[in-house]
Structures are given as structure tokens and as C-alpha cells.
């Protein structure tokens, strides 16, 4: 064999970096409708490292795996335009409400179904949940080692990969046998842009769910060219136990959410009196800014 089988984990996220005043609803929940859904930034870095392996070993296969609502198929198309070979969308209502433990369980089941892989690349962290937990948890569930915070691909040989990691106070170069899961830091190279030819070839790619609403011409096209069908997997397809998914499989529960976008209003004027200064300190303690 002259190539590797590489899985890239990618998540569709709301763009939390440009949150406006209308990003939160009255009840304090996130108004996803007004936030553009994007490719999680560090997952693009992850895709790039995977494609760099494929550059060196052109027989490699790069497979995108994403879990999300039906519209997350956009992530798969985007990755294919940039050089990925194919993708799977894990989608099922029964995944809703999953925390990182349940998410990583679902992902690990899908990874096992793909099987026979050499490398898994994930982003370090998603910009919505912001936990950076899914990668290491998925590695544990699949039963393989992990390398976190990859910044540079140093070398890749048969069954061994060498990676430079970015730590908070330095860098470290490590070598690992395959299979291994690697989470990729934002300081890794940016992802290459879309490839015009691939865009032309794959822009009509659809999932089964999307096929239902497509016009006849497009349906016909996908039927004629099977590579345009993006496969969707449900809970049953990946052989997952619903007990470990969704709310029931998630030990962490969100008890309360406070919105701090709306909280930023007019500046408060404070004088040097004891009353006002003490009130100010109490406010900061109460809203967890200090304490």
C-alpha cells in the first residue's frame, strides 16, 4: 500500500467571532438563525494537515466525518472542493443534546464503521462549545493514542508520524505509531482554497435527505454519477446504543445560560464613595467576572 486512510473530524459551527446584538434571543438562548454557519476554523487546519499527508502519498484517501443537522452536508462539500475524497454525515434527531462525551461516542462508532484507518485529524477546539474535549475523548473511545495541538507535520512514514505540537509555553516534537488521533492547533498552516475543477465536479453532490427536495434534473444527475451521493448515517447505521447518546448519554447538563452580549450597555458612572465602589465590586463578583 502506498497511501494512508485518513479521517478528518469537522464540525459546522455558528460564527461566534462576529456576534452582533441580535445574536441572542430574549430568553437568553442563542439565535442560531442570524449567525452564519461555518466550517469550524481549526477543522480547516486539520483538513490541511490531512491533505499534506495525501500530497506526499497521493494514494491516500481523505474522508470527512461530521455530525450535525442535515445542512452540515455543506461541510462535506466544502472539504471535497478543497481536496477531500469523500465524506459521511452522521445525522439523527436522537443525537440532539449530546455533550462532548456522547458526541465522541457517536463519532467513535462511525470511525469504527469506516474502519481500517491510519490517521484521524480533528480540530483542537470548536468555537461554539469551546471545550477542546471531543478529540481526546474520541481517541480514548476508539482505543488509540492522541497527539494534541499539532502545528506542523514534520514527517510521515509507513506506520509512523512525527508532529510538532504547540504548547502554552513552548513547542514539542513527538513521534507516534499509527493509528493515532491528532488534534490540530490554529497556528498550523491555513487550509488550501477550493480547487476550481473539484468545485465544478462536486457542486451537485447531495445527501439522501437533500435529494428529496431537489429537482428532477439534479436527482437524475446524482443517480447517474454515484460519487455525487453523500452518505448519511443514523444511530442504527453506526450501531450506537441510544442510551449513550443525546440527553440521556450526556452527564453534563446546562442548568442556566446567561447572555453577556446584551449585558454590555451604556457605561456605568461610579464615583469614589464607599457605597458605589463596594456596589461595583459586588456586581463583578456576582456576574463571575472576578471572585
Amino acid at each position: 500500500m502506498n497511501g494512508f486512510k485518513i479521517i478528518v473530524l469537522a464540525k459546522q459551527v455558528p460564527d461566534t467571532r462576529n456576534v452582533g446584538k441580535d445574536a441572542m434571543k430574549e430568553d437568553g438562548t442563542v439565535n442560531r438563525a442570524v449567525l452564519p454557519a461555518i466550517f469550524n476554523p481549526e477543522d480547516l487546519n486539520a483538513l490541511e494537515l490531512a491533505l499534506q499527508v495525501k500530497d506526499k502519498y497521493p494514494d491516500s484517501e481523505v474522508i470527512i466525518l461530521t455530525m450535525g443537522p442535515p445542512r452540515a452536508a455543506d461541510i462535506i462539500r466544502e472539504a471535497i472542493y478543497r481536496g477531500a475524497d469523500k465524506g459521511y454525515l452522521i445525522t439523527d434527531r436522537r443525537f440532539a443534546g449530546s455533550d462532548t462525551l456522547a458526541t465522541s461516542y457517536a463519532i467513535s462508532q462511525a470511525v469504527k464503521k469506516i474502519g481500517d484507518f491510519d490517521l484521524i485529524f480533528a480540530g483542537r477546539q470548536a468555537i461554539d462549545g469551546d471545550t477542546a474535549q471531543v478529540g481526546p475523548q474520541a481517541a480514548e473511545k476508539v482505543g488509540i493514542p492522541q497527539i494534541t495541538y499539532a502545528e506542523e507535520l514534520i514527517s510521515v512514514e509507513k506506520e509512523k508520524i512525527t508532529i510538532k505540537r504547540r504548547l502554552e509555553n513552548g513547542v514539542e516534537t513527538v513521534a507516534a505509531p499509527m493509528p493515532v488521533l491528532i488534534t490540530v492547533h490554529g497556528s498550523a498552516p491555513d487550509c488550501r482554497p477550493r480547487h476550481a475543477k473539484r468545485l465544478m465536479k462536486y457542486k451537485y453532490a447531495l445527501t439522501k435527505t437533500e435529494m428529496k427536495d431537489a429537482d428532477d434534473l439534479r436527482k437524475e444527475l446524482v443517480e447517474k454519477r454515484p460519487y455525487l451521493l453523500i452518505e448519511e448515517w443514523s444511530v442504527d447505521d453506526i450501531g450506537a446504543d441510544v442510551k449513550w447518546l443525546g440527553l440521556s448519554g450526556s452527564p453534563t447538563k446546562v442548568k442556566k445560560v446567561e447572555n453577556i452580549v446584551l449585558a454590555a450597555k451604556e457605561a456605568k458612572q461610579i464615583d469614589t464613595s464607599d457605597e458605589q465602589l463596594e456596589e461595583f465590586i459586588k456586581e463583578l463578583i456576582e456576574n463571575h467576572t472576578i471572585g
Binding site: P14, V30, D128, Q133, E168, T173, I281
Partner: protein, 339 residues
């Protein structure tokens, strides 16, 4: 007794600040719950490590000492921590939200099949009532954290599937000696009983670790001073405030040029850019070259004698007054309201 555990990180065989902060918080939580505080330390050459830890209130420290365990690698540390947690069944386990803590904690949580809350800014004990089943969960850990790019603050709980695990960034909790004379018990871990040969498959080829130095970028709270601070000596006031808040101190270029503070602490166009959750600008006018380095801070407080200082237009709180009067009062009221 279901105790509180802290995983202690090491820097050159000194317990990292973030871990001492967690021990302090862990002691507080253990006190409220009426249980003990236990620590796990994993590394090599750890003969005297207990002395560093006990004064922060730990009652037991599990020491896994083996040449192969330093520097840190994921798998052997995970095997030891997971093994110890399964044996001792704690109710709360805390890790630093550092390169190491965020590498090991999710791996351990997955193996334990328990919840893990990332980057908590506050940890509080509280009850939780579930209407549907009419059950009250007593003494849960409220894990309060920012998410969504810092736009929301969520309170997370794990009603069942314990332990309750959380990570906390450095500088968020206070570090405080519990009792210089507090003594605990060192329990040596038989490393071979926990790790397998396969745990050592990752080979470290090279490491460049810088000594921890000023790290303004990572600090959640920054107290910054400008020309209005008036002198190098007067900057002590700012360091005192920073100390009680767990903050870093930064400065404007005018303060650097006047020799009040070192250049590596300069914030702005020709210094560093920061976006802490709280920025307290003391005697800083707020020139645009300064503002570009800090205007993304989640909350800005300005202390200035000039009501019309430009910084006030981007601040959330304007304290109109002399910093020499205001800062000592802030310190006093902070101490008073955090017991």
C-alpha cells in the same frame, strides 16, 4: 467518604501555580462538603513533593514516581489517574485548563464515562431540583463557564454519572496557603500496577519549553497602568490589586517610556494585544494606539480623574476619581465580599 481530587501538574518538579490554585479551591469545596482533599502527582524524582502540597490543605497525596513518567505524556498519566479515580471514587476532580490538563482530562473523563466541564471560571456548591421526577440533588458542583466565544456564561451540572470533573484556567482561582503546618499522608503509587508497555508508544523527540514569564495574553484579568500612575513606586498599588484578583499587570507606552514598568508588559499597537474578560485601566487616557491592543476585552473599567478621557467611551464602568484613592478601596471591598 467521597473526596475532592486535584491532578497536580509539575514544572521542573515544582507544583504548577494553576494546581496550587486548584488545591486552594478544592480545599474550600471539600470543607463545604465535609470531605477530604486529595492530590495526585505524577512524575520523576518526587521525594519531597508532599511538602509543597500539604500546606495547601491536601490530606493525602498519591505520588507516582518513575523515570518514564517525566516529561508528561498522555497515556501513562491517563492510566494512573483513571486507575486511582476508579479505586477511590471521588465526587469532584479538578484539572488545570492547560496544555496538559486539556490533554489528559477529556481522556480520563471518557474512560470514566463521566462529565467534564471545560474552562470553568467559578465553582460553587448548590442543589438542583428536577420537577419531572420531583427529585432534589443535594450538593452538586455548579460549574460556571463561558462558551460561544465568550458570549454566554453557562452553569453546567452533572446530576448523575459522577465524578464531577472540571478544568480551570491558570489565574482564575486564588492561591492561598491553607496552613503552613498542615500535614497529610503520602501514598506511593505502584506504577507498574497501572501502566502498560503500550502506554509508552509516543516518543518525545524534542522539547523547547520556556520558563513561565509574563503572559499577558493568557490572563483573564489585567490591571493596566498609564502615565497617570505617576511613579514606579506607585505601580505597587496596581500589583496589589492584581494580586488579590489573580490578575496580570500591564501598562501603556507612556508608562513604559517613563520607566514605571518593563516593556514586555506594554499593551497596544507596539506592545501586545490582549482580550481578557476584565481590563482595568488606571490612569490611561486611551489613545488609539493603546485601544487597539485592548478594545476586545469583554469588560473594561476605567479609573481616571478626567471624565472625558477617550478610554471612557469604550469602557463599561467609569470610575471618576484618583486611582490612589480608588484602588485601595477596591482591594478592601473585594476582600470583604469574598470573606
Amino acid at each position: 467518604m467521597r473526596n475532592v481530587f486535584v491532578y497536580c501538574e509539575l514544572e521542573d518538579n515544582n507544583v504548577a501555580d494553576v494546581s496550587l490554585e486548584l488545591l486552594t479551591k478544592g480545599k474550600d469545596l471539600a470543607g463545604q462538603l465535609g470531605v477530604q482533599l486529595e492530590a495526585i502527582v505524577i512524575g520523576s524524582g518526587l521525594e519531597n513533593i508532599g511538602a509543597q502540597i500539604f500546606k495547601y490543605g491536601a490530606d493525602t497525596v498519591y505520588v507516582a514516581d518513575d523515570k518514564r513518567l517525566s516529561p508528561y505524556t498522555t497515556l501513562p498519566h491517563t492510566s494512573i489517574v483513571t486507575g486511582l479515580l476508579k479505586e477511590h471514587n471521588p465526587q469532584i476532580v479538578l484539572f488545570g485548563a492547560t496544555s496538559i490538563g486539556r490533554d489528559i482530562a477529556p481522556r480520563v473523563a471518557s474512560a470514566m464515562r463521566c462529565g467534564l466541564t471545560a474552562d470553568c471560571t467559578s465553582l460553587v456548591i448548590g442543589d438542583h431540583y428536577v420537577k419531572k421526577t420531583d427529585t432534589t440533588y443535594k450538593n452538586l458542583l455548579y460549574q460556571i463557564r463561558p462558551a460561544f466565544g465568550g458570549n454566554i456564561i453557562a452553569t453546567i451540572i452533572n446530576p448523575d454519572m459522577h465524578p464531577q470533573m472540571a478544568t480551570v484556567r491558570q489565574g482564575v482561582m486564588k492561591k492561598e496557603v491553607f496552613d503552613e503546618n498542615h500535614q497529610g499522608e503520602v501514598k506511593k503509587v505502584k506504577v507498574a500496577d497501572y501502566v502498560k508497555d503500550e502506554d509508552f508508544v509516543i516518543e518525545i523527540i524534542e522539547r523547547h519549553i520556556e520558563k513561565s514569564k509574563v503572559n499577558l495574553g493568557a490572563s483573564p484579568i489585567i490591571v493596566a497602568g498609564g502615565y497617570g500612575v505617576g511613579s514606579k513606586e506607585n505601580f505597587d498599588l496596581l500589583y496589589q490589586l492584581a494580586d488579590v484578583l489573580g490578575a496580570e499587570v500591564g501598562g501603556s507606552r507612556a508608562a513604559v517610556d517613563a520607566g514605571y514598568i518593563e516593556h514586555e508588559r506594554q499593551i497596544g499597537q507596539t506592545g501586545v494585544t490582549v482580550r481578557p474578560k476584565l481590563y482595568i485601566a488606571c490612569g490611561i487616557s486611551g489613545a488609539v494606539q493603546h485601544r487597539v491592543g485592548m478594545d476586545q476585552s469583554a469588560m473594561i473599567v476605567s479609573i481616571n480623574t478626567d471624565e472625558h478621557a477617550p478610554i471612557n467611551s469604550i469602557a463599561d464602568y467609569n470610575i471618576h476619581g484618583d486611582l490612589n484613592e480608588v484602588i485601595p478601596k477596591l482591594i478592601k471591598f473585594y476582600k470583604k465580599n469574598t470573606k
